[in-house]
Amino acid sequence: MINSALRLILSGILLIFFQILILNNIQFSGYVNPYVYIMIIMMIPSTTPAWLLLIISFFTGLIIDLFSGSPGMHTGATVLAAFSRPLVLRLIAPRDGYESGSDLSLAVYGLRWFFIYASAIVLIHHTALFFLEVFRFEGFFRTILRILVSSAFTLGFILLLEYYRKGK
């Protein structure tokens, strides 16, 4: 138990570093801004109480904000994603429910389930984030396009990392 918590924290820190040091520096056409750190919110076990999840997400977003010079943007989006996670989990629950103590991962619940789960969370997060960034509804469809393209890239990264975790 302690061991798995430690591993979770470690992979969270790695993800944040990955985001800050590498992905934040991708300058590719303004449409592609993958935000893979949101995977932290997905990996937290389903037994975690919702308030703890919210607080973790708050500080995750805050750290990302501090390093990308955009106070409040990532924090808001990440807290929203964390708040909607229990709802998403309830909606796409497998027939026999979640095993307590198991990872919410591709290895345990299969590609199809994980893909739906990840795309729901990523879409919620990116929609909130990109609209908070432009903060207006003019150019609505351009923002939608940015959300979709970036979500696709984020999902690609997350699936790669999941397969890596599974292989290990």
Partner: protein, 273 residues
């Protein structure tokens, strides 16, 4: 108290979410100039809209007062008019005001001789040097340009009509400010021609033509006519057919405009010639 605790327990996640999201939005609004100004503008837009509604309603409710105010103002103005009407026909109402500096003074006159059917038309008015009329003063009819004074006797003056082949007036398009010179082609007393407007400018039928202040004769912005037909000639300039506001066939009461600062201006301008 117990109910409150139950409520808090039941919705604890929602409350935590709202608090954290509130903090995030607070950071967003305070940490970013862009978001801050968007929010401030948005809130101001809402309050301005509400204020406008309130003031609209209020002004509607006070219509009765405004009405009686206007009525009393109207009657006092009528009194002033009837007082002035007795002096009016004699002279320029000349105010020697060196502080605010009145630039133009107006005097009314009647047209006593007029023609429209020659190539060089003039009209005569019933005031002359004794009433302060001098050559190179502008003549307007109603609110639109009519001509300018060219010669005065003691009690009469002759003005060159706009319907004269020698008449030239600096005029501009009211919509975009491009100016050219207005002449008459001697054909129809209802139309004049505006030249020297370059062809890259869009000129629409119905655009208003007005005077400029370049001549030191006419005040700026006296309406002349409207565009009827902007024709592209062979050169780089339009020849614009202008329907005149002034109907010279029924020219009767006119106003003569004296530019009180004309000499000062011409003196200064001549120094650089």
């Amino acid at each position: 108290m117990r109910n409150l605790l139950n409520f808090l327990l039941k919705y604890n996640n929602l409350i935590v979410f709202l608090i954290l999201e509130g903090i995030a939005l607070y950071l967003l609004a305070n940490g970013n100039h862009y978001h801050n100004s968007r929010i401030v503008n948005g809130v101001q837009g809402i309050t301005n809209g509400i204020n406008e509604r309130i003031s609209n309603t209020r002004s509607y409710l006070s219509l009765r007062e405004i009405n009686s105010d206007l009525a009393s103002q109207n009657s006092s103005l009528r009194n002033t008019i009837s007082e002035l009407a007795q002096e009016q026909s004699i002279d320029f109402t000349d105010v020697n005001d060196t502080v605010t500096g009145q630039q133009y003074s107006y005097t009314p006159a009647r047209v006593i001789n007029n023609s429209v059917n020659r190539q060089k038309n003039f009209f005569t008015i019933d005031k002359g040097t004794r009433q302060g009329i001098r050559p190179d003063m502008a003549v307007i009819c109603g609110n639109s340009a009519a001509g300018m004074i060219v010669g005065c006797s003691e009690n009469f003056s002759v003005a060159i009509s706009m319907l004269n082949l020698d008449f030239k007036l600096s005029a501009r398009l009211k919509s975009n400010g491009y100016f050219g010179s207005l002449t008459w082609d001697g054909k129809n007393y209802r139309y004049a021609l505006l030249n020297e407007i370059p062809q890259h400018i869009s000129v629409n039928v119905g655009d208003t033509i007005e005077t400029t202040a370049y001549s030191a004769i006419f005040p700026e912005g006296i309406p002349i006519g409207t565009v009827v037909e902007p024709k592209k000639s062979g050169s780089d300039f339009y020849v614009i057919k202008v329907a005149l506001f002034t109907d010279f066939k029924k020219l009767n009461y006119v106003d003569v405009i004296a530019n009180l600062r004309r000499n000062e201006r011409l003196e200064l301008e001549n120094r650089f010639k």
